[in-house]
């Protein structure tokens, strides 16, 4: 229901245009009274169901235990900067791929950004990156042909190894068995995402070499004056 509009316009704060008697007439209180035989209708209070008699508690704690304060926090993913949209070229500022220009795909539920190099172009795989370590440029790549629905935070979770029972002798030898081999499934995912992307990248002249090159500050470049 729309919020109730007052029939008494405000002249200034605290002062209405119409007097009490005028408002009485405007609201039609006389009509309500007339309908009810000269008296304002009143309803008897609804009988509240009396609460069932509470049994006296059998146990009272000796010390007063403080109740922790109420926490109504509603966690949600970090607010995405307005300059970042699917297909935007981002510059990564820290980590192994610092300076690399990558394509943004979507924001995951944890707040991290899903990006891809594409791998063939600059060696950056499907990866998560924090928004704070990224500069958004105004260059956009067409990502309409790419299906990245299935990627979420669980996809990137570390594999939990089953703990072996502590046998002293073979303990140190058996550990080095599985090194981090990337499962074929992930390689195929990378290929399928990049296939459509690379097509749309090659449609724009120089964009592929642009993504392959790293960003760096040169002499005379002032970051606060640069337009990205």
């Amino acid at each position: 229901m729309a919020p109730k509009q007052s029939r008494n316009p405000e002249l200034i704060r605290g002062v209405g245009k119409f007097s009490r008697s005028k408002m009485y007439h405007k609201r039609g209180l006389w009509a309500i009274k007339a309908k009810n035989g000269g008296v304002f209708p009143r309803h008897d209070p609804v009988a509240k169901p009396s609460p069932a008699a509470a049994k006296p508690s059998k146990f009272y704690p000796a010390d007063d235990v403080k109740k922790p304060l109420l926490n109504k926090r509603n966690p949600r993913p970090t607010k995405l900067r307005a300059s970042i949209a699917p297909g935007t070229v981002l510059i990564i500022l820290a980590g192994r791929f610092k300076g690399k220009r990558v394509v943004f795909l979507k924001q995951l539920s944890s707040g991290l950004l899903l990006i891809t190099g594409p791998f063939k172009v600059n060696g950056v795989p499907l990866r998560r990156v924090n928004q704070s370590y990224v500069i958004a440029t105004s260059t956009k790549v067409d990502v309409s042909g790419v299906n990245f629905e299935k990627f979420d935070d669980k996809y990137f979770a570390k594999k939990v190894e089953k703990k072996k029972s502590k046998g002293e002798g073979e303990f140190f030898e058996a550990e080095k068995e599985e090194k981090n081999v990337l499962p074929q499934e992930k390689k195929d995912d990378q290929k399928s995402v990049d296939a459509a992307l690379i097509k749309s990248i090659e449609a724009v002249p120089d964009l592929k070499t642009y993504l392959a090159a790293r960003f760096s500050l040169k002499a005379g470049m002032k970051p606060h004056e640069l337009v990205f």
Binding site: T137, T139, T209, V227
Partner: protein, 134 residues
Amino acid sequence: MPFKRHVEIGRVALINYGKEYGRLVVIVDVVDQNRALVDAPDMVRMQMNFKRLSLTDIKIDIKRIPQKKTLVAAMQEADVQGKWDKSSWGRKLVVQKRRASLNDFDRFKLMLAKIKRSGLIRQELAKLKKESAS
């Protein structure tokens, strides 16, 4: 050695500081040793310190504090905007603005173009050197 651009009624100047930065105005009166009354077709007439003005070569023929429409007519007749756009100062400002608004991708393309151009120049130079040496 002597000054060529004088503060006088009708001198066109460029505002180089403050809210109106980059605007072309005409000096219509001098208030005192430090301030002038300036006016332009699309702004309210205001006083300004000379330090905020950079004088240009352009001068128009007006009387002291003309009416707005007289000023506009005089500026049209002298073709102030046209002269400004043709002058090297005016053209430089356009280039500076364009360079400042370049995007990261634009700067990359510019770098590629510069490398290509200097490559071609070097080739020609090498050819000429070879010819003059032989």
